[in-house]
Amino acid sequence: MVKKEMIAMLLAGGQGSRLGVLTSKVAKPAVAFGGKYRIIDFPLSNCINSGVDTVGVLTQYQPLRLNAHIGIGIPWDLDRNIGGVSVLPPYESNDSSEWYTGTANAIYQNMEFIENYNPDYVLILSGDHIYKMDYEVMLDFHKSKGADLTIAVMPVPLEEASRFGIMIADEDHRITEFEEKPEHPRSNLASMGIYIFSWPALKKGLTALKDQENLDFGKHIIPYCRDNGAALYAYEFNGYWKDVGTLNSYWEANMELIDIVPEFNLYEEYWKIYTKSEIQPPQYFSADSVVDRCIIGEGSEIYGQVYNSVIGRGVTIGKGTVIRDSIVMNDTVLGQGCEIYKGIIAEGVTVGNGVKLGVGEEKPNDTAPHIYNSGIVTVGEKSVIPAGVSVGKNTVIYGETTVEDYPNGYLDSGSSLIKA
């Protein structure tokens, strides 16, 4: 009989709409990060490094890129005879066929997958956090406390606590109460969205609440566990953990990688982060290039000047082009003589010669100021920006644009130009 002590279920189906055009065609977990990775590489690498070799990845929104990236799990050593990685999309059945309507509903619809492995514990992860964590240590904590549910928490500054789900625990780390985004937080322990359930407890909750609409862990399953006398414990994590749910936090998390000794250090020998990499050649710098405080992925060719930026794989940066405080993702080609300030440029973008991004006055974005702010210029994947145009701040460009789209060759700050 197949038996796995703990299997992981990774929630990767959400859109991540606060990343704007970055997630128009890809699910958030498949968005590029840190020069060569995708966000989902972090939980997947954590799994294999923690000895969790069976992972179900729940996909729903725009899964193609994610499916291609995960494949059969070779980069993470998750190609196993028994276990390994399985991609679990919603499916049709005799009596029902529905999308995943909530995080816990997605797990409920895949109970059979879990049962196949006879697990004692189920680890619930989400595919949109940047961190390194040993789930085995968390499991040891869970076992030693005799918990039914362990929630990973991290201390946050009290003034920020109202943005998170807050756990209130006693000295024994037992959770006595919790509140979702409280106005007046009574604790600074924020839930990281990482749970270990003893499988019988999770199964009981999922079965009891199966008819609940939009069945969600935070809103339904965890309250149900508490109300039914389950033992809930908070596992305190003090390492680096970053939610990259918004454009600004995504930008910041990337920029933190280029500190001299970054808080989140990718250069340590142990706890490697794995990713699928088909591009392997070294990167080339021409005789008149300049690099200062940046990280750059494989196979990129730098003929211009790069300051304080994160550059992906297979990127070409033309002669005379100056890039500052920006993120450029894989296979993007930047022409000659461009100036780019605080841009997030997605994969496969073509930028013509002499283009200026992120210039002029700061104005709020006209369509989605809650997404496009902080002065960032966001360019969606495979977009084309014609030569010679200038673009202001808090702007978004997506699709194959031509000179006609830029009145007088200038896209004003706060404008949205979406053609795809």
Partner: protein, 372 residues
């Protein structure tokens, strides 16, 4: 594909000096993130040769580590695969390989148990791209017994360390000399051959009976008048790593955008073992000019006209010029390195100057490393 592949990777070369003390020539690092055998293996994989044997003998440690999975070149299949064959002890024979022909003889089972009609034999120490299907087509078209890949070299170049061939108008090889003192032509053999599998078995068995061990002198040169041996001339990039200078020049060739495009951007790809290193990082003070930098490096100093391999650390105020820094090298603050090849895993303490004066200097220093 109707052929199996044999990669000859057993040789040592004293002209590689210190560089071959740690590894076989076939495992020499090339172009920042590859090793020389990657080129032959990728060519075979890309030509759909599915069953490939690598014969190794000399100092095979780092080569074996590199070949620890056949996945990297897409060979790990139910049909075929990558076989690494080292000399083995048996009842009747416990010899090392005495030569290239002997290495094939000692592993004759690889040939006799296959069913593909042709064999492609290639050495593992060359840097090139080739579609072996085209070579095989040519071989069949010419009704040849053996086809050898040849290339015209620059007449000013010293080619006395290659095998040189003379061909008639029909491309049939009429003269073949191994390492001639006075070459009659500037056409050299690239060490890549195709022939029928059964004929190779016959010839190798005959060689063994006569106590002959070398494939070039005892098979190709002896049989050149009896068998129809043809030359298949290539004009594309081909370099053999046979000396420290070759090694240096070949790596420096990759600073040329045409060479990089040919190998890295044009189809098909060259594959190598994936190391899962983070992106290269450039801290304040870094300045990189006309150089290649591989993943996992951390650069704090000046790098000019150089090739830096994987996971090396270059300290503050360093100057690296016209040099090759191999994998996992630590260079302390304020070090100057010029015209050098720095061996893998070396640790250079800070503040020193290492300079190759009139010729390249090979630096091998295994010291204690300050751990970051």
């Amino acid at each position: 594909m109707r052929a199996i592949g044999i990669v000859l990777a057993g040789g040592n070369n004293h002209r590689m000096a210190e560089l071959s003390q740690q590894r076989a020539v076939c495992a020499m690092p090339i172009a920042g993130s590859y090793r020389s055998i990657d080129f032959t293996l990728s060519n075979m994989s890309n030509s759909h040769i599915q069953k490939v044997a690598v014969f190794t003998q000399y100092n095979a440690g780092s080569l074996n580590r590199h070949l620890n999975s056949s996945k990297w070149w897409d060979f790990g299949r139910k049909q075929g695969g990558l076989y690494v064959l080292t000399p083995a002890m048996a009842n009747e024979n416990s010899n090392w390989y005495k030569g290239t022909a002997d290495s094939i003889y000692q592993n004759l089972g690889f040939l006799t148990s296959s069913h593909e009609p042709y064999v492609v034999i290639a050495s593992g120490d060359c840097v090139y791209k080739m579609d072996f299907n085209k070579l095989l087509e040519y071989h069949i078209d010419k009704k040849a017994d053996i086809t050898i890949v040849v290339k015209d070299m620059d007449p000013n170049l010293d080619i006395s360390r290659y095998g040189t061939v003379q061909m008639n108008e029909d491309s049939r090889i009429v003269g073949f000399e191994e390492k001639p003192l006075q070459p009659k032509t500037n056409t050299i053999s690239c060490g890549i051959y195709v022939m029928r599998r059964r004929m190779l078995i016959e010839m190798i068995e005959k060689c063994a009976e006569e106590d002959r061990y070398d494939f070039v002198s005892d098979v190709l040169i002896r049989y050149k008048d009896i068998k129809r041996i043809f030359g298949y001339k290539i004009k594309s990039y081909w370099k053999n790593i046979a000396s420290v200078e070759d090694f240096y020049d070949t790596n420096m060739d990759f600073l040329n955008p045409d060479v990089r495009n040919y190998f890295f951007r044009e189809y098909p790809n060259i594959y190598s073992k994936v190391d899962d290193l983070p992106p290269a990082k450039y801290n304040p003070g870094a300045c990189v000019r006309n150089s290649l930098i591989s993943s996992g490096c951390i650069v704090n100093g000046l790098v000019e006209n150089s090739v830096i391999f994987k996971a090396s650390y270059i300290g503050n105020g360093c100057t690296i010029r016209n040099s090759i820094i191999l994998n996992d090298v630590y260079i302390g603050d304020g070090t100057t390195v010029e015209n050098c090849i720095v061996e893998s895993h070396s640790t250079l303490q800070g503040g020193r100057t290492l300079r190759g004066e009139d010729r390249l200097k090979v630096v091998v220093e295994q010291g204690d490393r300050y751990v970051l």
